[in-house]
């Protein structure tokens, strides 16, 4: 027995394992909703949490679970769409449940209100928020959480927001709520039946000082937008399916079909959802990076020269767009001057960051940035090195080589329109100089 178990005995039952309160804050720190469950929590906790998030966000010091100084409470947090979600708990519980639940909460709200301007919508339609929260959590435990089901219980606001007369709550219990197909709305009817599949791949890589790749991998996700009537069963086949590693799938996907045959068979929820996530191009099967780099960094007393040349490679004749490079410069740099063969270079001397906006990379040849750093201390050598992070997009190109071979519908007899596209973006595409 753990020595501390004895004094915890008194807590050992009761509020264990539950979320005490959930707060949703606007990006500016105003509390939009304060919903207590197992136990009420003072609003000052949310304020404290907001303060901690704001203080540590920039410097990347934020811990996944924050401890309050006011009382023995732990705060989980998640920030997205200009909203800050905070869950408070005072007792032991599965940490990832709490943490993931906040992410899921955002997902549900996005689905319900629409992603565009979510922060503002949530604020202006807080009545919905109260009702959604009531369904989502009962007594601190996640209750009805599937986005489709929330929409089955509550009518989402129309495009122009709701007016006082709109009926929000459905009066009957939707039959699918308690079915084994719990992720899909009951009655769905579309005039045009459509399904869209997006393969989005995020390329992550670290390049060493010599421009040689140290490690790289691709985080991929298959997003699906389903607007299909009835109860369709979709069968999705990939070319090159072997590139997918470490796959995780939406609950609607039939596991065994995937495990045994590498088919993705599913009855989709209505609307947008993430069908699969995977990794590709890890150490065992690295893919050639879409952008090659050639960094150089030489320093002398009080100053340093740097050069970064980048070129598009191996993108299957697709253009590399919206390319820009963020530099994290040494904290002692005073002044930085740089010239580029293409695009503009700006330096923020407060944050010690710089950005080189390149735009679309030329299909042939490389673009080069050369620059000079002056340090505050003219007699010292620089201890720190800059890091460049390259952001880019290559539309209609999946860097892992994953392709959709076929997408077929079984069940209903209508014809469906299929839209598929892919995209590669630069995630942590890091060059050490």
């Amino acid at each position: 027995m753990h020595p501390l178990d004895s004094w915890h005995k008194e807590y050992s039952y009761g509020f264990r394992e539950m979320i005490d309160s959930i707060f949703i804050l606007s990006g500016q720190g105003d509390i939009i909703i304060d919903r207590p469950f197992a136990q009420t929590s003072p609003r000052s906790l949310a304020e404290e949490c907001y303060k901690l998030i704001k203080e540590n966000k920039e410097s990347n010091l934020l811990k996944p679970v924050l401890s309050s100084e006011q009382e023995p409470a732990y705060m989980f947090h998640y920030e997205k769409h200009n909203l800050i979600y905070i869950a408070i708990t005072r007792t032991e519980g599965p940490a990832l449940l709490f943490s993931k639940f906040l992410e899921h909460l955002d997902l549900v709200l996005c689905d319900f209100f629409g992603e565009e301007g979510l922060g503002e919508k949530v604020r202006s339609q807080f009545v919905y928020l109260y009702m959604i929260m009531d369904e989502l959590i009962d007594g601190g435990f996640p209750n009805i959480t599937e986005p489709n089901m929330i929409k089955e219980l509550l009518n989402p606001p129309g495009p122009s927001g709701h007016s006082a007369g709109t009926v929000i709550s459905k009066t009957e219990l939707p039959p699918t709520l308690t079915s084994s197909l719990y992720w899909r709305k009951g009655t769905v009817l579309y005039v045009n039946n459509e399904i869209f599949i997006d393969i989005n791949e995020t390329m992550n890589a670290i390049f060493g000082r010599d421009g040689v790749i140290i490690t790289s991998f691709i985080n991929g996700e298959v997003l699906c937008c389903s607007k299909l009537s009835g109860v369709p069963t979709i069968l999705l086949n990939y070319d090159n399916v072997m590139v997918m590693e470490d796959v995780s799938v939406h609950p609607c996907v039939k596991y065994l079909e995937w495990v045994n045959k590498k088919h993705v068979m599913f009855v989709p929820p209505d609307g947008n959802f993430t069908l699969m996530k995977y990794r590709a191009g890890t150490a065992s099967a690295a893919v050639p990076p879409p952008i090659s780099v050639r960094p150089s960094f030489t320093f002398s007393k009080g100053s340093a020269r740097f050069e970064l040349a980048i070129a598009a490679r191996n993108t299957g004749s697709k253009a590399v767009e919206q390319c820009f490079i963020d530099f994290s410069m040494p904290s002692t740099s005073r002044q930085i001057n740089a010239t580029a063969t293409q695009g503009a270079f700006t330096y923020d001397s407060n944050k010690k960051t710089a950005r080189w906006t390149v735009g679309t990379l030329p299909m042939q040849g490389e673009v080069v940035l050369t620059g000079n750093i002056d340090f505050e201390d003219r007699d010292a050598y620089c201890e720190e090195r800059p890091i460049a992070t390259i952001s880019f997009r290559v539309p209609m190109y999946a860097v892992s080589g994953l392709k959709i071979r076929s997408l077929t519908l079984s069940g209903p007899t209508y014809k469906m329109f299929k839209g598929m596209r892919c995209l590669t973006i630069g995630g942590n595409y890091e060059v050490r100089m």
Partner: protein, 1102 residues
């Protein structure tokens, strides 16, 4: 419109406030809604709106659901502030919860009632909960389940009643309800394991169908259950002997806490004992592990971690590998969840570094990572460093020390030390790297670096103590890094003939380090760093006899300006040097040479008394105290001082508090995340010493097949609702089966179901197995066709549905079979959700659970013999043998065992999955193991994916898919390992070429009549008195992969099996009374073989 609603937040004028009361009293839904909206806005703003409580409660009679929902919200949020007024609404809520026709309102009302937090309502609530628990609607049941913990919080005395209710509700068959019931169980009575016994298999069976949050809870409950109920799957080694042997080994001492004793022991012994390890797992635990394995693919990281934790704490280590892989993928997001997952990885990497050391690149630090994540990655990297990857990791660290964030740099330095501890061969590289940082401009970095140097030196010197094996190993590696230093090269040139001993070399390298420290000392101002350097010079002053007195002299001159910490160390330094000047021989160190020359000694003793005087009159009491301590040195030096000051210092351990916290707390808990015990934390259960056999018996198969939730609801709407998941794509099939089963209605129910059970308990290919899920579905569809039928079916649960196993049906209607097979193909996926519990991944260790699945699907049909049969066939492997290597000359440390899983390969149902275990018996890692083989038609083979490496003394598993084509001839394969190729071969035992055949008694005797004469082999034998059935079943199933045929005569046990395509039948008849064994086989040799083997097996059982 949006603008309009925004004003609710801003407009708080008194007129608006007074309007609210007016609006609430209006009894018009629109106005009430408006008022409630304002109240919501006010409470969002943090105003106390409880004064409106009476008005709001009055409005509760509304029929408008929007208003109702908001009122419920209002009541819940404000009930604490107005405890007296709460009673006003209880009556209405109670009525809504129990009498309303709409299940939605019943559920909502029960949810609200239970959230009220008013002690006065306990009785009402308790009544409503038990009523709700038996409500026809799952929605209400769900609300009732979640209300239980709330009630228990209000009134502790009701706990026992509620625990009983939970126990009752655990029998719930709708997954929608089961999830919340498990949540309630977890909160109210997490250790009432007795409640779980009965439902264990049922819940494990449906765990995949639960929603993601409930899965997390269920996994957590089962982790505790498994630890509490099952015998440890970890093999206990002879603790004391090996432990002392390993004591000096730095790399294996990362585990300290009691919780990890198991792993520590297992780490060294389990690999060798893997084959026993498999059979060591309790069958129920095995069932649990297999069932949850597919959940590793869940999109919810909490679920994945739950599975991983279960495997980590309850499964043999080799089976943990896929889980380790799955948990690694969680860490790549940039969300707080990913950081939490990373923490879990860190814990596991500390305890089982070798599982992660191959993927070290996955833990390289990106600039974007949070500092917490970066530190955790460093920690992981330092633990998983091995001889092969240490240099790559160190060169990565070399980059990190140039980082902007100094805290990260410090963490990197600590990690460098960690690497040095785990991989002694790179100590010199680490030392060089850290020495470079001593000139950093940042104080924190310098002091961290000095601490690291100090620890490294101690680490190095500790090597010269004693002569344990580890040290010798270390010594062997020393020269390789010593060559790197420039000094060394010069020395090598001079002393070309005489190799320096490792001790000398070590002393030499320490001397070099000390000299650079001495030269750096004046420039270092950080007190901690300074004092550490002084300490080092003092401790190793005998290695730098020419410099240390001078350092002391210089330090004494600045004594006044020094920090307290440094002053203390200067004093100690002086004392140590002074001790060296004394004649040491009399203090028991005979081999000690005089360090300082005669003429210096005088000066040194004066210096010491000077420092002593300075310290005596220092302002700080601590310094004065220390001076008093050293005073006797001047007057009457005693041997004790030598022991105190000049002894060998213990080597610092590499763990820090984080490591200890990470390995102490259970992975995945909040306490683990915050590294502090949170209220309500329970440490992990220890595996029981003696297992409760009764409990195992209680773990009965679930009552019947799962009834789809749709049917459970009492409301017509639900029933009329959309078709279920499985119906839509599968209606053809179920109807055809329906007809099939109708035609067999005459078959006695007992017999047919027993057959089904034995059918499934054996390793028929997954395709052919009638998946349990489908049964549920069948019931569903039939229930939709005729309500009567469904009710009669579900009410008479113990009687099995009069259905024949599909396979048997197919056999008798061959014409229909092909057609159906074709029509089935597109609909095959409906097998899925269920099958995954059986087949799972093509994982290295997906064991057979078919027996359990059977148990679940056809529980009512469980005859004692069939149960026993299921039990004895529930083994992961059969015919486990060592593979003969034909080329014995090949210097291979690899030994290979082969076992038959009696399952179809996942690649091809015609192929058998054959498991290979590669045991590396050598001392070095074997790399790139691959297997290739050519077989002639009609045989076919699918070899294993190449294994990148097998660490020394560990085992890798792989699954080979082979179609033996009914032939026992040898299978020859060529194995490549470490670029050497040799041939291995094995032949399948004839019993493994069969697959179970499902026959009725009549069929059996028909075939038997055909296979007489030459094809019959009959012998007589003697049976043991105790458990003759078990002996027979075990002997037969051990020998051959056959199925049980139900016979009416209790004295006769029948088995049937066949080769591919159901030809070459083998029929086995055991007569217990006559004590005869008869085997009828189409293939004479096979028959003979089997008779002999069974006979031998029976004899062995005595």
């Amino acid at each position: 419109m949006t603008g309009l609603d925004n004003t609710y937040y801003t407009d708080l004028s008194p007129s608006k406030v007074s309007e609210i009361k007016f609006l609430l009293d209006s009894l018009e839904p629109m106005k009430e809604f408006e008022a409630l909206k304002r109240l919501c806005a006010f409470s969002s703003k943090g105003f106390d709106v409880s004064e409106f409580f009476p008005q709001v409660v009055k409005a509760i009679i509304t029929q408008n659901l929007d208003v109702k929902r908001l009122i419920y919200q209002f009541i819940i949020i404000n009930s604490k502030k107005q405890p007296d007024l709460v009673l006003l609404c209880v009556d209405k809520l109670h009525k809504d919860a129990t009498e309303n026709n709409n299940p939605l309102i019943r559920g909502l009302a029960l949810r609200t009632l239970s959230s009220l937090n008013a002690p006065e309502i306990i009785q009402v609530l308790a009544h409503d909960i038990s009523k709700g628990a038996h409500d026809p609607s799952p929605f209400v049941k769900k609300a009732a389940a979640l209300a239980i913990p709330k009630l228990v919080t209000l009134d502790e005395s009701l706990r026992d009643t509620m625990i009983e209710l939970i126990g009752e509700m655990l029998a719930e068959r709708s997954t929608i309800v089961l999830g919340p019931v498990l949540a309630a169980f977890n909160i109210v009575c997490p250790s009432e394991f007795r409640l779980l016994h009965k439902h264990f298999r049922n819940i494990v069976h449906v765990i995949v169908d639960l929603d993601q949050w409930s899965q997390i809870i269920a996994l957590k409950i089962f982790l505790n259950y498994a630890r509490n109920q099952f015998p440890s799957p970890f093999i206990q080694r002879e603790e004391p002997a090996k432990k002392s042997e390993k004591k000096g080994d730095d790399s294996s001492e990362s585990e300290e806490s009691d919780n990890f004793e198991n792993f520590l022991s297992k780490k060294h012994s389990n690999d060798r004992n893997i084959l026993q390890g498999i059979s060591n797992v309790d069958p129920d635990l095995r069932f649990l592990l297999t069932s949850v394995q597919t959940l590793l693919m869940s999109a919810n990281p909490g679920v994945v971690l739950g599975v991983v934790a279960l495997y980590y704490y309850c499964a043999p280590e080799t089976e943990f590998i896929p889980a380790a892989r799955a948990v690694t993928r969680l860490v790549f997001d940039n969300t707080p969840s990913a950081d939490l997952a990373l923490k879990a990885v860190a814990s596991m990497a500390i305890a089982r570094p070798h599982l992660f050391s191959a993927v070290y690149k996955d833990f390289f630090v990106f600039n974007e990572c949070s500092l917490e994540g970066k530190k955790m990655r460093l920690n992981i990297l330092s633990h998983i460093a091995t001889d092969t990857n240490a240099r790559a990791i160190l060169s990565e660290f070399e980059y990190y020390v140039h980082s902007k964030n100094k805290e990260f740099v410090c963490a990197t330095i600590r990690a460098i030390y960690g690497v040095a501890v785990h991989v002694p061969s790179v100590i010199a590289d680490c030392m060089r790297g850290v020495m470079g940082l001593l000139c950093s401009s940042d104080e924190a970095v310098v002091s961290e670096a000095v601490m690291c140097v100090k620890n490294l030196i101690q680490q190095q010197t500790s090597g010269s103590l004693g002569g344990t094996e580890e040290n010798r190993e270390k010594e062997e590696e020393m020269p390789s890094w010593m060559k790197d230093t420039d000094d060394k090269k010069k020395k090598k040139g001079k002393k070309a003939k005489k190799e320096p001993t490792p001790e000398e070399e070590r002393a030499e390298s320490i001397r070099n380090v000390l000299l650079s420290l001495i030269s750096l000392l004046p420039s270092i101002r950080v007190p901690l760093a300074r004092s550490s350097i002084v300490w080092m010079i003092g401790t190793y002053c005998h290695l730098v006899p020419h410099h240390s007195p001078d350092v002391l002299r210089r330090l004494v001159s600045t004594f006044k300006e020094e920090d307290t910490e440094t002053k203390l160390q200067i004093l100690t330094l002086a004392a140590k040097i002074y001790l060296h000047t004394l004649d040491l021989t009399e203090y028991g160190k005979p081999d000690h040479k005089r360090v300082f020359s005669e003429n210096v000694c005088d000066v040194l003793s004066q210096l010491f008394s000077h420092v002593h005087n300075l310290a005596r009159f220092d302002r700080n009491t601590e310094v004065r105290e220390k001076a008093r301590f050293y005073r006797p040195l001047l007057t009457s030096p005693s041997a004790l001082f030598t022991q105190c000051l000049l002894n060998d210092k213990p080597v610092p351990t590499s763990h820090n508090e984080t490591d200890i916290a990470l390995t102490t707390f259970v992975v995945g808990t909040l306490s683990h995340a915050v590294e502090l015990p949170c209220p309500g934390y329970h440490s992990l259960e220890q595996f029981p010493q003696d297992v409760d056999e009764e409990a195992a018996k209680d773990r009965l198969p679930p009552p019947t097949t799962l009834i789809p939730v749709n049917v459970l609801g009492g409301d017509d709407t639900r029933r009329k609702g959309k078709k279920g998941f499985y119906e839509s794509d599968d209606s053809d099939e179920s109807t055809s089966e329906e007809t099939d089963s109708d035609s067999y209605d005459t078959t006695s129910s007992d017999e047919s179901s027993t057959e089904t059970s034995s059918d499934e308990s054996e390793s028929t290919p997954p395709k052919k197995r009638a998946p349990p899920k489908k049964k549920g579905k069948k019931q569903e569809s039939s229930s939709e066709e005729s309500t009567e039928e469904s009710s009669s079916e579900s009410s008479s649960e113990p009687t099995p549905p009069p259905k024949k196993s599909k396979k048997a049906a197919e056999k008798e209607k061959p014409a229909k079979k092909t057609k159906k097979e074709e029509s089935r193909k597109p609909a095959q996926s409906d097998d899925l959700l269920l099958q995954l519990t059986q087949v799972a991944f093509n994982s290295p260790s997906a064991p057979s659970t078919s027996a359990f699945i059977t148990a679940q699907t056809n529980p009512a049909a469980f005859s004692p013999l069939a149960a026993l049969f299921a039990e004895v066939t529930n083994k992961p492997l059969f015919h486990l043998t060592k593979v003969a290597s034909t080329s014995k000359t090949a210097n291979s440390n690899l030994s290979i065992d082969v076992g038959f899983t009696r399952k179809a390969s996942v690649f091809d149902s015609e192929m058998q999955a054959v498991k290979l275990f590669f045991l590396n018996e050598g001392k070095d890692t074997v790399e790139t193991v691959s297997l290739s083989g050519e077989v002639s038609e009609p045989r076919s083979i699918r070899t294993i994916p190449p294994i990148s490496f097998i660490p020394a003394q560990s085992t890798a598993e792989a699954t080979l898919a082979v179609n033996f084509a009914d032939s026992t001839s040898e299978l020859v394969l060529s194995l490549t390992a470490d670029d050497k190729t040799f041939t291995i071969s094995f032949s399948p035992p004839s019993g493994e070429l069969l697959h179970p055949l499902q026959l009725t008694k009549e069929e059996f005797f028909t075939y038997k009549a055909q296979l007489s004469g030459m094809m019959m082999h009959k012998i007589s034998f003697t049976l043991p008195v105790s458990e003759p059935d078990r002996v027979i079943l075990e002997a037969v199933t051990k020998t051959a992969n056959v199925g049980l045929v139900v016979s009416d005569d209790p004295n006769v046990i029948l088995f049937a099996g066949a080769g591919t395509k159901d030809i070459k039948k083998v029929l086995i008849e055991v007569n217990k009374e006559a004590q005869t064994l008869a085997v009828h086989a189409e293939d004479l040799l096979v028959g003979e073989d089997i008779v002999d083997e069974i006979h031998r097996a029976i004899q062995e059982s005595f």
